[in-house]
Subunit: 222 residues, 2 copies
Amino acid sequence: MMSKKAIVLLSGGLDSATTLFDSQAKGYQTFCLIFDYGQRHAKEILQAKKLARYAKSEYRVVKISLPWGGSALLDKRIALPKNRKDIAHKQNIPVTYVAARNLIFLSFAASYAETVGANAIFIGANAVDYSGYPDCRPEFYQAFQLAMKRGLKTGVGGRPIKIYMPLIHKTKGGIIRLGRKLKVPYQLTWSCYAGGKKPCGVCDSCLIRARGFKEAGVIDRP
Amino acid sequence: MMSKKAIVLLSGGLDSATTLFDSQAKGYQTFCLIFDYGQRHAKEILQAKKLARYAKSEYRVVKISLPWGGSALLDKRIALPKNRKDIAHKQNIPVTYVAARNLIFLSFAASYAETVGANAIFIGANAVDYSGYPDCRPEFYQAFQLAMKRGLKTGVGGRPIKIYMPLIHKTKGGIIRLGRKLKVPYQLTWSCYAGGKKPCGVCDSCLIRARGFKEAGVIDRP
């Protein structure tokens, strides 16, 4: 009997895949939320759907248009950084930053949560490898949780919705070690920003993934 | 010379129209944000565009799908309330409530603001006639403002984005009196929830509008 329900933000990457399996291991019935926001790497949407089906989870795909552009993830005229050695430096906000992306994602998650009666949102946010995105920091999530408590029907009447970030203090290697225990099918995950048929191997996301598998002592099989 | 920029959430209704003209009177260069979220009353989108053009404002239309439904504004199987006498009672959340709607709207506004370099968001929220929506209350906006401050590039580096609600403590009559001073073209606004060619005259929104014009002593000319 399952009574705990959770929305899981699922991108198709390895962090959110691990988060999905972690939330299920904690006894939640999951509802995956997948975003199609015109990202270069549309392949991650395909992989996210495969992951949700593999995990026998309900899922919804939300299509978002941001008619003001401005990120290298959306705009092919902006070059993606390659082979950066400073990906660990968190002071600089990268060109792959999408304005207010996590605000938008969480708002849809709140709407989905309220509609299905979930009072948990799981997100694979990570403070170690977050690559300089301000909306990946715990203090941002705390403020958003308060906004949900005050702005939603659920928050006013029933139990407020909580945001869970099981990976927040883990290294990429630690995430992969957790995922191995949870039997996450990493062969279904997708990290590359570039949007080719195979991972490019040189974008920030590919570099972080490779470093993580190396740290965990695990081979990344396609 | 205009240097202050503001995003204005523009629905096509009279509150947001008044807010648009109020923000321009305060010296802001405006960027209107119009949402197409499958509402019954698609006519309001058309009117919102007309209002933005009339005000010589830039605007963007964002199309949103909420694939979980659940509101009378989106789902034609749910009956709209008619001729309710208790529209002033704020304890009950009406069936026209769209889960997390203002959270979603504000998140897109934050993204637009950050992209064009605006540090103000104007919204026609109103605590007097808000008909029981929890996400129309000032304490919700305060929490959201904090989330933006913590989660956005602008908030981290530059001046944080502020939310302005010039109508928050006004009655509908007071809003219309202000709008008359600002020369708001109310004949272009649309309030009815029902989505016909003419206002139905019996939904909550039509009733509130009629009461407001009566209170202001102004004739509502189509």
